[in-house]
Symmetry: C2
């Protein structure tokens, strides 16, 4: 089949009629499918249920250093979980701060803290006039929502296959003291599934920010979420920043939300001692401590980091076919038609599709009208504004494979339909 752009009006009109017919057939099926959020499937949450038996009424509730997890104390986490997260984040256990059930919550609180109390010995961000954050795009809508909530001006930074455009990042960070931070999902980025190249990580570590209180929000949400035999590898940002004397730059986050239970997992963060002193002061006033019984449940169930990685293989067994279904459907239905390009990630939770410019909203609307929920178009951009109206995030994890295939058939059809509508003006 030739590309739609090379068709004449007559051919396009004919194509439109055919596509509309197919679309009507989908609508008649009354589908109700959801590919909107990065939500594990029930088969994935099934993988971790035995964890719930580990800390039972007969259990020993003491940590390895003899602390009763049923009571107050150990505000920054039990040693077992600090060790596990230390390996996950690539930092010494002593640097890990174990939080509650949500890394987003830790990130929100960290931003909130820097807004009201500042970091690096500087004035609170809220007292420095306009401040800005760099937002690699497409990116994670919940990150952008946090900075938007606090009135931070967000500057989109284009992503290439190596990560954010570092020329642009260097230019902005090094010239503008109102640039206070950058959101990063450095491995299997949300949504493009891109892992920052070694050079990108080194250039981030070598930044010479104009602002003393510039910080990198390093959300390593998918650090162990490999889906292929050739997983990506990510350079250790903390080690690179030690080499450049930029220890205070990165603030690392991760969680087990997509490893054990979304909402009932454990989250953690790590940063330099100077940074953590600021954040810990806040956390120590915010709470007496987090849920150590849930920490103990996780630590006992996984035993160690190896146990953790083995568990991830079981997730891969479930997710790899889902990603393959999405990718092969895109290949089958859209390849060579000039209406879309997409990423082929080695891990993570998403496939990112760029449809014909000006068509993303229409595609999402068409899918919705036929019963398939997608992440809203624009959600992957700050303020929900995709200047090209082109990017759509597909979340293949939640639906079973058969539903996924149906949803993808509809999606591909809608991509074509929107493109032809556009070409016809």
């Amino acid at each position: 089949m030739s590309e739609y752009v090379s068709m004449n009006q007559g051919e396009l009109k004919q194509a439109l009629a055919q596509l509309r017919e197919q679309y009507a057939a989908f609508q008649a099926r009354n589908l109700k499918l959801d590919m909107s959020r990065g939500k594990p499937g029930a088969d994935q949450t099934d993988l971790s249920v035995e964890m719930l038996d580990v800390v039972n009424s007969k259990a020993d509730f003491n940590t390895e250093n003899g602390f009763d997890c049923r009571n107050y104390g150990l505000f920054d986490g039990i040693p077992e979980m600090k060790a596990l997260f230390g390996e996950m984040l690539g930092v010494p256990a002593s640097q890990v701060f174990v939080g509650g059930n949500s890394s987003l919550n830790l990130m929100f609180d960290t931003i909130s803290c820097m807004m009201t109390h500042g970091v690096g010995g500087c004035e609170p961000w809220s007292e420095q006039g306009e401040i800005k954050f760099l937002c690699p795009v497409p990116g994670y809508d919940r990150h952008f929502a946090v900075t938007e909530y606090f009135g931070v001006t967000m500057i989109p930074i284009p992503m290439s296959k190596d990560g954010p455009d570092m020329d642009e990042v260097e230019r902005l960070v090094q010239s503008d003291a109102s640039v206070k931070g950058m959101w990063c999902v450095p491995k299997y980025s949300n949504p493009a599934g891109i892992t920052y190249s070694d050079e990108t990580v080194r250039r981030i570590a070598a930044l010479k920010p104009a602002a003393k209180d510039f910080r990198i929000m390093w959300d390593n949400a998918y650090c162990v979420h490999d889906l292929t035999d050739e997983p990506d590898s990510l350079l250790n940002i903390v080690e690179e920043c030690q080499k450049t004397g930029n220890e205070d730059l990165p603030i690392l986050f991760c969680s087990t939300s997509k490893i054990t239970f979304p909402g009932a997992g454990v989250a953690a963060m790590a940063a330099s001692d100077a940074n953590m002193a600021v954040f810990k002061k806040r956390f120590s006033l915010q709470t007496i401590g987090f849920d150590k019984l849930n920490e103990l449940r996780h630590a006992r169930y996984f035993e160690n980091y190896q146990g953790f990685l083995q568990h991830m293989q079981r997730h891969r067994a479930i997710l790899e076919p889902k990603f393959q279904a999405v990718l092969s459907m895109l290949e089958q239905r859209l390849s060579g038609k000039g209406v879309a390009s997409w990423t082929k990630p080695n891990g993570g939770y998403f496939v990112s599709v760029d449809v014909m410019e000006g068509c993303a909203k229409r595609v999402v609307e068409l899918c919705k009208q036929a019963g398939v929920a997608l992440t809203p178009a624009g959600a992957t951009y700050p303020y929900g504004r995709d200047p090209k109206d082109s990017n759509i995030r597909l979340a293949p994890t939640y639906p079973p494979v058969d539903e996924l295939i149906t949803a993808m058939q509809l999606f591909c059809l809608c991509v074509e339909l929107a493109a032809v509508e556009k070409l016809l003006g």
Copy 2:
């Protein structure tokens, strides 16, 4: 025995020598006892361990409305816990917001939200210049630490047996628009164990604040923590505020931290729809949701509010003897000596002792030097400053009764010793 104040110098010197001898004997025992925090004992956390068996690998993970608690969703809590907390807080289930493991965290976030984003359609508190909070004293140190962190000026309000001095509260709230809030622990207050009288609650509900964004932080931490056959009863603040058209005034908090597991319990809050719209916006950006498996664990274990109250009877059976031990020791050792007065609470977690003016720090220091940790003197006042240096919070819950008796023997001795030192100049 006569009061120390009526003794002459010779008698006092003789008393001092005897007390010092007794004190030296205590020091020789190398005690290591802790009455510093409101922390349940291991016997109390034992009461709830069977809860940990309820949500096991074979369990049905669905809420009564068919929601899988292992996954994202139900951001404001599962219906079972909303119902339970609704009864606890005296509001409809629909008004309850179930949070994470810590009511302190909900309170911190609520204050933080009003600081950065405001409430009641007003400017953020942080943009209104100096703002003030009324702090009934003696009160809860962690409350004061939160408002201090955000730079709020704290005004101590004396407590009587009926609650805060309402003449003073009315005068300040109704004349000064910079007064934005008041901390309240309305039942079995921390530390005095006072329950606000009906008249006090009605006068709070009838306040006509100068500030449209004045709010009551109603921390009902001990609402079900009765310790005697004649428990206190507290008027329903929400109902009273409905009568006066002051629905937006109170923000209610509670948790199961001292019912199930400190740190691994469930917390909740409730407020008017207008208030909750502001707070929910923040929470919805801060987290995808709280730990619903732990909510389910609690809901299934207690079944209903009756189960909850029965569980509290088991706590009472453990705590009542501890409070009796403390009170009878105070009575035996200090009654009639003119060196201390104390509260006799019908519930809660503390006994509040007022020692001779200028002696509280010295008493705490003397106890520490002999191996008994108490809450720091002054902690029950904003900024840690007790103007009379008189109040000491005793936390009888954690130590076993025999240790408690030893600790109280030492405490009473130190109260006498400090008083005699003071009288001798």
